[in-house]
């Protein structure tokens, strides 16, 4: 059971794990309100990757990962997830245009 310190590494490794075995891999989320702790686990019953946090800023990251996993699980491991993670990029581009118009 490995706890990852880097969010990016955790995400990359978990997506890799999923693509290798989409049927066996599962994503688990455990939340304890009394302790204020959130633990994420991705496992294919052979390897186990975990990420724990007590920071509110990580909720957004978890949200994104939720969307990515959901898209992969429903559409398939080869699904294009750029639209899920690319939505943020699109929003950023729009906001930049907004700033320009105000000037």
């Amino acid at each position: 059971m490995v706890y990852y310190d880097s969010w990016e590494e955790f995400v990359d490794r978990s997506l890799e794990l999923f693509r290798n075995d989409p049927i066996a891999t599962r994503y688990v989320m455990k939340y304890r309100h009394c302790d204020g702790k959130l633990v994420l686990k991705v496992t294919d019953n052979n390897d186990c990757l975990k990420f724990k946090t007590d920071q509110a800023q990580d909720i957004k990251k978890m949200e994104k990962l939720n969307n990515i996993f959901f898209a992969l699980m429903t559409r398939g491991p080869d699904a294009d997830i750029s639209e899920v993670s690319g939505k943020e990029q699109a929003d950023q581009q729009q906001s930049k245009k907004g700033r320009g118009r105000r000037q």
Binding site: P22, I23, T25, R26, Y27, V28, M29, K30, Y31, R32, H33, C34, D35, G36, K37, L38, T53, D54, Q55, A56, Q57, D58, I59, M62, E63, N66, N67, F69, F70, A71, L72, M73, T74, G76
Partner: protein, 95 residues
């Protein structure tokens, strides 16, 4: 294990989070599943039929189990929103 539709599952999930504020944990698991048994899957593979996969989402508070199997992307967004409102106990960044 109670298999529910998406909407009742989400209401029950929200209830679970609300009930577990003082003590306890809530586990939410997501997995790809065809919702069919091995025998059926083999038959379908032999016939060359395409297997449809869904996302199986399970939740438990240690006592009660609920689940739903769906294709709705909205579910993932909703779960995230529920988490956002409920996970208020996590520390805010100081800077």
């Amino acid at each position: 294990m109670v298999l529910l539709q998406a909407d009742p599952f989400l209401s029950e999930l929200t209830n679970m989070y609300e009930r577990s504020t003082e003590k306890g944990s809530v586990w939410v698991t997501m997995k790809r599943s065809s919702m069919k048994c091995q025998a059926r899957l083999k038959k379908m593979a032999n016939k060359g039929e395409e297997v449809e996969y869904r996302c199986l989402v399970r939740a438990t508070d240690g006592k009660k189990n609920i689940s739903t199997a769906t294709l709705l992307q909205v579910l993932a967004v909703f779960i995230a929103r529920v988490c956002n409102e409920i996970m208020t106990r996590l520390k805010k960044r100081l800077n």
